[in-house]
Symmetry: C2
């Protein structure tokens, strides 16, 4: 399954041979960060935003990045040239490195992988299951996905597609995407705190600003149940309508107009 | 720093060559568990308890372990023979494996490492800093140490040696050890819920049972500040007196009698 090249620290290596020694702090202590961007027709989308967030996450986690932003962009361009995958996902991971004592941060390991990305058709109809949880350090894109990986069977048991995290009934985000509602009054609302600031989230707020009233504030579960529309956003998913939460239909139970409009608007700027 | 042999999945390999491909779910999603035991004079202490907990953690995290308990014990014995380190720490790690989609659990990778362990002299005088946090899945020994690794500078800023986790002022545990108090009335108290059930914790409760009144229940921060004694316990640390919490001296501000008695009792059974 792993083909082509991976960039590892300072060199492009055959993908199947890209390995970290077991003393790495990701394996020892689950300590690392990443970012993920997509390429469409050989163009890396929102590269600047993703690299900015990657350096922000690294700095927050006290991890040094050897290449500077321009060098990292050049490495990504070279990786794209070598792998020749026009439509792809590129993941940049930075771990805590080979720790002498198995606990202290060392010289980080940098891994850049590229995989074919089948750009999904226009998906509609995601069913979410609310779950009381906050990501640790939610403003940072860490590799900590212990809970959502562990909770996969719970989703299956509840015929749900993804989790909707909340704390005391205040919704924050999904494990890998941001969450929005359109209220009965037509206002677009999404949480501002306790969430990862998604690159697609930012695009949506920019695109919507001239057309909709926008509020960045906590949304309660009850408000979400009663919303006219709800949707999630992420780099891989673009915008997907949420048609049910905890088995309750949202709005008409089908994709809403605002969601559809945003999907189209993002699709257009990405082609 | 890495010498001797490491057991990796199905073979003993030279320690420096023990590596995991970057698609492993520990590197991708921080998903894995471990256990840690010590050897003294070539004897693996509480091996049964550690293996039982290892299989429990694996089962909780939906990770399969290929060798059964007897086979795993034999592998550890053989590793000890090959490395010839009479006083050591042995870490058994199990990760989510090489995930095809970077999210779903795959065939786990099993890593067993052994390192020299300098058995600490009788330490006294640990200073703790209270911090509102719960480990994710606290009853499971996962590799998730995102918060305590990240919080190392906070300890330095506060002249503290370790964190003391609490939730709404109810103390649970330290990041890598259990926490006990001896009340003014002489009762030994430690939390029973929201904590990892330490192997040394169990030894302490067994040793203390004939001599002290014991309560397994939540302890508040205020109760800990006012305690006659406080101490922590772990496989590597044995028992260490906590002489200050949040800069406030506990009891006399020096090691207490019960703590000393327990340290001696454990030391004796471990030689």
């Amino acid at each position: 399954m792993v083909k082509g090249y991976i960039f590892l620290n300072d060199a492009f290596v055959e993908a199947q041979s890209a390995a970290l020694h077991v003393t790495d702090l990701a394996i020892q202590r689950g300590y690392g960060i990443f970012d993920f961007l997509k390429t469409v027709n050989g163009r890396a989308l929102s590269l600047d935003d993703h690299l900015d967030r990657f350096y922000f996450s690294a700095q927050q986690m006290r991890l040094s990045v050897r290449p500077d932003k321009a060098e990292l962009a050049a490495i990504i361009t070279e990786l794209m040239r070598k792998n020749d995958l026009p439509d792809s996902g590129i993941k940049i991971t930075l771990t805590g490195g080979y720790s002498q004592d198995g606990f202290s941060i060392a010289e980080p390991n940098l891994i850049i992988t590229q995989q074919p990305l089948v750009l999904t058709d226009h998906l509609t109809g995601l069913r979410l299951l609310s779950y009381e949880h906050s990501r640790q350090l939610p403003h940072v894109k860490t590799i900590d996905y212990l809970m959502p990986v562990w909770l996969q069977p719970l989703l299956a048991e509840n015929s749900a597609d993804d989790l909707l995290y909340h704390r005391n009934s205040y919704i924050t985000e999904c494990p890998r995407s941001n969450f929005f509602v359109v209220t009965a009054g037509g206002t677009l609302v999404t949480a501002a705190d306790g969430v990862l600031k998604g690159v697609t989230r930012k695009k949506i707020l920019d695109l919507a600003a001239p057309h909709f009233r926008i509020e960045e504030r906590p949304v309660t579960l009850d408000e979400a149940y009663a919303a006219r529309e709800a949707f999630i956003s992420s780099t891989t998913k673009n915008v997907i309508a949420v048609t049910a939460i905890d088995g309750r239909p949202i709005g008409t139970g089908a994709e809403g107009e605002v969601t559809r409009w945003l999907w189209d608007a993002i699709w257009k700027i990405e082609q």
